[in-house]
Amino acid sequence: MEALLYQVSSGLANGIIYGSVALALVMIYQATHHINFAQGEMATFSTFIAWALIQAGWSYWAAFFFTVAVSFAGGLLVQRIVLRPIEKAPVLTNVIVFIGLLLIFNALSGMLFDHTIKAFDSPFAKDAWFDTKYFSSHQVGSAGVLLVVLFALFAFFKYTSVGLAMRAAAQNPDSAMLVGIRVSWMLGLGWGLAAAIGAVAGMMVAPIVFLDPNMMAGILLYGFAGALLGGIDNPLGAVFGGLVVGVLENLLGAYVIGTELKLTVALVLIVGTLTLRPDGLFGKKVVTRV
């Protein structure tokens, strides 16, 4: 029984990680209607920047907020410089550029910070009041951070005019331009925000999985799966999807199929769920005009 609880709790803890990455993916999708394959590598790179600052003597929270700011600027710049020339190009062209960015960021991380794993401290003290048997203080803290980001995002999209403008720009760029929305800048803003969220995700993940250039490679897929399961246009759904993926991954691996076919089972699960609910668990059905 205790083992089961541990499996579920560590599944939920992993799920929080996947949910955070899923949030960044949803952010990008809502802003640009593209899935950014380079999200994970950018998040890793941001985390390395934070690590370097902490090594240089900065306090954790100073490094944290500075990194988030730098990542925001970085994401914005990437969109303005690298992606703007191909804004009008076909979807797959953009996908290839994302892949190129993925390779570049990954190689940069390896080249600048080499491949030995690095410990990344958690800002949440080990013996804090919210440290429990099944959830370490860091896991609880990360969940809290995730909730904060989630609600901030939710409020941003639903209640602010900038958020509305961003969604409009992604959904119908031509009409949005006619109404006076600067579509191009909305895309840049979206990228900046996604990069910032990614940086937060990376900094929450690193204390658990240790920091190295390939930290996010495995996580990105599960984050992707979580985002799609929950509905690619729904932040809350994405987080829920991430949690589901985390728990199921653990339970299936431990009790059902064993660890040797875990990926295959995950595949079957994803395909199965999407076959039954093609827009994800919480996605909105998109109705197109004939």
């Binding site: 190689a107 040797e260 295959t264 995950a266 199965g272 999407l274 197109t288």
Partner: protein
């Protein structure tokens, strides 16, 4: 086409044929091996193009079909002593069936969802291949070592023998030519128009009487068959298969080759094959500490210069030349 143009096309084609036939005897064996791989990747990309370029179904998992074709050939050759050329139809059929089956759930998925599902397939394949219950067939993590086919006859040209590599190159060239011909024939008629119609206006296509589910699944199967056959050719050329040869990176490279060559373009597949075979080597020569970064930069540069791939770029160039000559 003007008679003058026709003449140039004929001359160009004959020249190309001459080059393809003579070149292997002018260069070292290992270069011929590289040409062979270019052809193999070109056929694989052609398969992907049928599905993604012409029919609009995103697949990030075609490496899986390549792997299954390769393993089919490897298992038949090493465990059952089947001659190498006989494994090709087997690989095609096996992968066709498999692709057809994958096509069914794919019917319900579109765009990003299909990309995710196929991506997950590509990720799961190495793990599947390592599964200990089928280790007897697949060789498990150690993989299978194959014997390299020998040329069936002696031949010398320009003072160079018909080596195993050269023979395999000609074999692959013949098979590739056949596959390209098949694809061209398939796609230029009603089938091709139906595929494109499904891609661009699925609802209208259904209204016109095209049986969408059947068509899409058959397309998936055909596409998988092509790529699986390429996998078999690749396995024969490299003479080795292992789960690590078929990671998700292969699927991504095939997609890269597709876009670089040009979507919905049959000759584009050849440029795609050239790109994914040679550009990693170029990147390696430019930088030892981060060859992947160089590759990424070259990819992005390629997309800037030619967002519609090499064929798109060539079409634009051709149009400009014609405009200049007539204007």
């Amino acid at each position: 086409m003007k008679p003058l143009d026709r003449k140039w096309v004929w001359i160009g084609s004959l020249l190309l044929l001459a080059v393809l036939l003579v070149l292997p005897f002018l260069v070292k064996n290992y270069r011929v091996f590289q040409f062979n791989l270019v052809l193999v990747y070109a056929v694989a990309i052609l398969g992907l193009n049928i599905l993604t370029g012409f029919n609009g179904q995103f697949s990030l998992g075609h490496g899986a079909f390549y792997a299954f074709g390769a393993y089919t050939a490897a298992i038949l050759m090493s465990k059952y002593g089947v001659p190498y050329w006989a494994t090709l139809p087997a690989a095609f059929v096996v992968c066709f069936v498999f692709g057809f089956l994958v096509g069914f759930p794919a019917l319900r998925l579109a765009g990003h969802f299909l990309a995710l599902a196929t991506f997950a397939l590509a990720l799961a394949v190495p793990q599947l291949l390592k599964y200990k219950k089928i280790e007897g067939f697949t060789g498990g993590v150690q993989g299978l070592v194959l014997d390299k086919p020998q040329p069936p006859f002696e031949f010398r040209f320009l003072d160079q023998p018909l080596s195993s590599d050269r023979w395999l190159y000609f074999f692959t060239l013949m098979v590739a030519a056949l596959m390209f011909l098949l694809a061209w024939n398939l796609l230029r008629g009603r089938v091709g128009r139906a595929l494109v119609a499904i891609r661009d206006h699925p609802i209208a296509a259904t209204a016109m009487g095209i049986n969408l589910p059947m068509f899409k699944s058959l397309t998936f199967g055909t596409s998988a068959g092509f790529t699986g056959l390429a996998g078999a050719l690749g396995a024969i050329a490299v003479a080795f298969v292992s789960p690590d040869s078929f990671t998700v990176q292969l699927s991504i490279f095939l997609l890269v080759g597709l876009v670089v060559g040009g979507l919905a373009s049959i000759p584009g597949a050849i440029f795609g094959g050239i790109f994914i075979q040679y550009v990693p080597n170029i990147a390696d020569e430019l930088s030892k500490s981060a060859p992947a970064a160089i590759y990424g930069v070259l990819l992005i540069a390629m997309m800037y210069l030619m967002p519609s791939g090499v064929m798109g770029g060539l079409h634009r160039l051709w149009a400009r030349l014609r405009a200049n000559s007539t204007g």
